[in-house]
């Protein structure tokens, strides 16, 4: 895992191809080795790389994973964030981290 994992949302995926990122989203659907979360748009998760992550539909989850060439995210770790996440605030954080990069990412 690289040192910094930028926080992103669905629209940023293409910009971060090949990089390890952090995505906070709401679990929409589980389908075997893939899952879909809503993070400012639909994000497809590839769970083959980590079969231990327990996703619960309807819960917020923070994913650390790598954006592959199909703009799917290979999941390394996931953290369940429960029900109470304020997505407006979380999305504002993503905005801030890209606007004021100097304190977040190189």
């Amino acid at each position: 895992m690289t040192e910094a994992t930028p926080r992103i949302l669905a629209p940023y995926l293409s910009q971060f191809q090949g990089q390890t990122v952090r995505i906070l989203g709401k679990v929409v659907q589980l389908a075997g080795e893939t899952a879909f979360i809503d993070a400012g748009g639909k994000v497809t998760l590839d769970l083959k790389t980590n079969r231990d992550c327990h996703l619960a539909v309807g819960n917020a989850v923070e994913i650390i994973g790598k954006v592959d060439s199909n703009l799917e995210v290979k999941v390394f770790t996931s953290t369940d964030m429960g029900q109470g996440i304020d997505f407006d605030a979380a999305n504002a954080v993503v905005d801030a981290t890209h606007k004021y990069k100097e304190i977040f990412y190189e």
């Binding site: 994992t5 926080r7 109470g84 304020d86 801030a96 981290t97 977040f104």
Partner: protein, 273 residues
């Protein structure tokens, strides 16, 4: 790494003890001690920061002190995920990752707390908030933490990062207000906040007194005929002394942003478009 800790204890508690331990009361002794003993006490702050800011922090001349955004940091707080826990005899070292970088956070083992089991609540991948001071040992930096506690509400992660951003912006760009105009008196500033949207329209009022600004704003925003407003009317609306309004009016007339209508004390705004 313990040296940094002891140094800071020296300057605060020992300095204070000096007065008491010196025996005999000497007037002024206490106050003589305090400037050196409490050095840096006044600028003690609790800064929310990202781990990247700690990694990028600039060392100051004095050993063990750092600057972030040009401001000295004393106590800092970070929120991150535990990536590794290594239990040693004297301390527990947690590797924290907040997405912007990773840093080691060391917490001294408190034998009392260990018995209560309160130290064992922390586990890998858990989000925690730590409070402490940035230390440097050899070439490696770590946080000497006083408190580390798990995060119960995950929104705290968002708000910590936003808070760190606000503090960073305030230190690098100044407080939100000063961005619009520099040397305002208090009264004018309050007024500008109210009519922030109209700030552009206030172009010609730059550099004039607070009262003049108020009078100008009043003339601009109060519904009126083409005769404008009488200075008594303005004084009543703004709850100001008539002499002040009169003087403000003179200034505005001189600047050419208002003009007299039916008589010398009835004014209207000169529209420039």
């Amino acid at each position: 790494m313990s040296y940094g800790n002891y140094d800071s204890y020296n300057t605060t508690s020992y300095g204070a003890q000096g007065g008491a331990g010196g025996g005999g009361f000497i007037p002024g002794d206490g106050s003589q001690n305090s400037p050196s003993g409490n050095k840096g006490y006044g600028k003690d702050t609790l800064r929310p920061v990202t781990i990247k800011q700690l990694i990028d922090a600039q060392p100051m001349h004095q050993e063990g002190e750092f600057k972030v955004d040009g401001a000295e940091i004393t106590t800092i707080t970070v929120v991150g995920q535990i990536r590794n826990i290594s239990v040693q005899t004297t301390n527990i070292t947690y590797k924290l990752d907040d997405g912007t970088g990773t840093i080691e956070v060391k917490k001294w083992v408190d034998s009392d707390a260990a018995q209560n089991g309160s130290e064992t609540k922390l586990a890998d991948n858990m989000y925690v908030r730590a409070w402490g001071k940035l230390k440097s040992y050899g070439n490696k930096r770590h946080v000497g933490a006083t408190v580390i506690r798990p995060i119960a509400d995950h929104n705290e992660i968002s708000y910590h990062l936003l808070e760190a951003t606000v503090v960073h912006l305030e230190l690098t760009r100044g407080p939100p207000d000063s961005a619009s105009k520099g040397a305002n008196t208090n009264g004018a500033q309050g007024y500008q906040q109210l009519g922030y949207g109209a700030a552009d329209d206030m172009g010609p009022t730059g550099g004039m007194s607070a009262t003049a600004k108020k009078v100008y704003q009043c003339l601009k925003t109060t519904p009126q005929t083409n005769e404008g407003l009488h200075q008594q009317d303005i004084a009543a609306r703004l709850n100001l002394d008539i002499a002040e309004v009169s003087k403000a009016g003179d200034d505005l007339l001189q600047l050419g942003v208002i003009y007299t209508t039916v008589d010398d004390v009835t004014w209207a705004v000169l529209e420039m478009d």
